[in-house]
Symmetry: C2
Subunit: 361 residues, 2 copies
């Protein structure tokens, strides 16, 4: 067997397992997730005013294309180790694909419960590709979540929604990695907030690493979409709406903890419009990093704070800011394809191409 501990990407349990609160029966089930790039974004930093260092932590470069793999490898490893042979979750997106992939890796059965209503086939394709059974219930997402909780309480079917505490343990590893990549925690961490498990995990992870290694703590800017901003509004949103489907959640499971993380870190939780999100998606891609819309929310929030003066450029001078991009643009090509103009058509002649390209150059 190859020496996978020498591998550039041994997976988050091999790398950070000793720092995670896991039962001894855990048996690693990995697809070599984690070790995602921390990409410098000097041009975008200049456009936002300059004087600080900006990085994107590109979590879309996990095996199933989203950050969910960090928590899922841990949740599935724990479930597999205690002998569970089936996993279940309520999801129509990134969680379902990740659960299906890790269950497949372990040889376990994966069941995905989706709510009533129109389902985007592209969003489910990942889960189906990895062999999950998909069941649609005649009810809402909350009904679906309630059902998977109940069935996991009565039967040996492991729940892998983010109510599963091992998901959060695994997601802490992103904070560890950022500290290892930068040498310390960044000064600010900007990230999208939907169900709020991720912001909760980052804050847990940064605090733990600081206690162990004195890496410092970031201030956290959590960013919701304006049409789906329960933590900003202070109450659940019955019908959340946003193009950033990965954070279209009206009743976050970890809302309290998210608010605590923002407060304890001397940060804040704000909302941005869909237009701001899509604009930042384009700006990131213009530096070579294509992310799904939700992933752009964190830095869209930073841009808004700077524009409106809630955050002064002088406060950022010489500081390091990390934006978390949770999913790859390939997760939602429709958002691009739908607004794509028809390509310009030309005769197949050099002169025509020269006119088109050099005339405009």
């Amino acid at each position: 067997m190859p020496n996978l501990s020498n591998s550039p990407r041994p997976g988050v349990l091999a790398r950070y397992g000793a720092l995670l609160d896991l039962p001894p029966h855990t048996i690693p089930v990995t697809l070599q997730e984690g070790d995602t790039p921390l990409i410098p974004m000097p041009r975008l930093a200049e456009e936002l005013g300059g004087g600080f260092e900006l990085f994107v932590k590109f979590e879309g470069m996990n095996p199933t294309g989203s950050f969910k793999d960090r928590g899922m490898t841990v949740a599935i490893s724990e479930a597999f180790g205690r002998g569970a042979r089936s996993v279940i979750c309520a999801s129509t997106g990134n969680t379902a694909a990740s659960a299906a992939a890790y269950a497949a890796r372990a040889g376990m059965r994966a069941v995905v419960i989706i709510p009533e209503g129109k389902v985007a086939a592209g969003k489910l394709a990942g889960a189906v590709a990895y062999g999950a059974e998909v069941i649609q219930i005649e009810g809402s997402f909350d009904d679906a979540l309630s059902l998977v909780v109940q069935i996991s309480q009565h039967h040996p079917i492991a729940l892998v929604n983010s109510l599963n505490p091992y998901r959060l343990e695994g997601q802490k590893t992103a904070a560890f990695e950022i500290c290892d990549q930068l040498g310390t925690a960044p000064d600010w961490l900007c990230l999208p907030v939907g169900n709020a498990g991720n912001i909760t995990s980052y804050w847990m992870g940064f605090r733990q690493y600081h206690t162990l290694k004195g890496t410092g703590l970031p201030r956290i800017l959590g960013v919701q979409a304006a049409g789906s901003a329960p933590l900003v509004l202070g109450h659940p949103v019955e019908h959340p709406e946003t193009v950033a489907t990965a954070i279209r959640i009206g009743k976050p499971a970890r809302g309290e903890q998210a608010l605590e993380a923002a407060e304890q870190s001397q940060g804040r939780i704000i909302a941005v419009t869909d237009e701001e999100i899509l604009h930042m998606q384009r700006r990131l891609a213009a530096s070579g990093v294509w992310v799904e819309p939700a992933s752009a929310a964190g830095l869209a929030g930073l841009a808004r704070q700077l524009r409106e003066g809630q955050l002064e450029l002088s406060e950022l001078r010489g500081k390091r800011v990390v934006g978390i991009c949770t999913g790859h643009g390939l997760k939602d090509p429709e958002i691009i394809a739908h607004s794509m103009p028809a390509p310009r058509r030309l005769p197949a002649r050099l002169a025509a191409l020269e006119d088109a390209l050099l005339g405009a150059a």
Copy 2:
């Protein structure tokens, strides 16, 4: 600035640049490509007969979701370093997305020329997302390729199709990485063959590493799709057809070199049907690795060779086999979505879900 040379993924130029034949003016333009996982596939090896070690080199975990990023970082770094400010390619798929991403990273203009006919919007979404200009010509893919060659000869617009020799230099790094991950070259390397640049690069890379480090040489099994198999048939295919769009090429640019690589390595080039490709795509996903159809061709070829006895299991005993998976399944979700059954529907009640899941268990 962070110490990116300590980063787990500094990019292929930082890691292997000294082994690539590049002009001194080259200036690295990176998205931290490479360092892709080499994933053990013990279950699939058993299903194929067992007694050997099988790994997937998952090149879909590059920044734009395909192996093209290895060659593109190098081609763009060379072009940028010599002062080119525009790049051009003929492509409707992975090459276009990669060219657009690295051009964006460098602040260069990217132009993508596509042939006449129906264009799958999803396939172009990547290039458009990264800001490429897309021009459709009234002609074939060959016409498009001919045009981009001509315009790059007459104007300071860098050609980044695989005719660009720096693309092949960059793609060699995948061979280096496999040797570094395994300690030596594998005994067999199985990979899809379309335009044949990749098989050519792997063979160049393994030979170079063997000369430098004595890592040995693999036998190479190159696999084409039956409807698009010019190297097996011995003549160009006018209208290539296969679900494996990434290798749907009737006149490979590097056909001669591919045949040489197969012969010199004591390997071979064979063809498999679309059914075999899609079957292997499902088998790979059943171990947690979802790839685009073309990526499954290499191991579909291995399965056929073993089934038909052209390769005896006894020959593989104790050996190490690596299958190259060139692109992520997210590159072609339609192939899954189109054949996806409608989800089963249930009332939102625990008893109904119990019946459905445990009755069938």
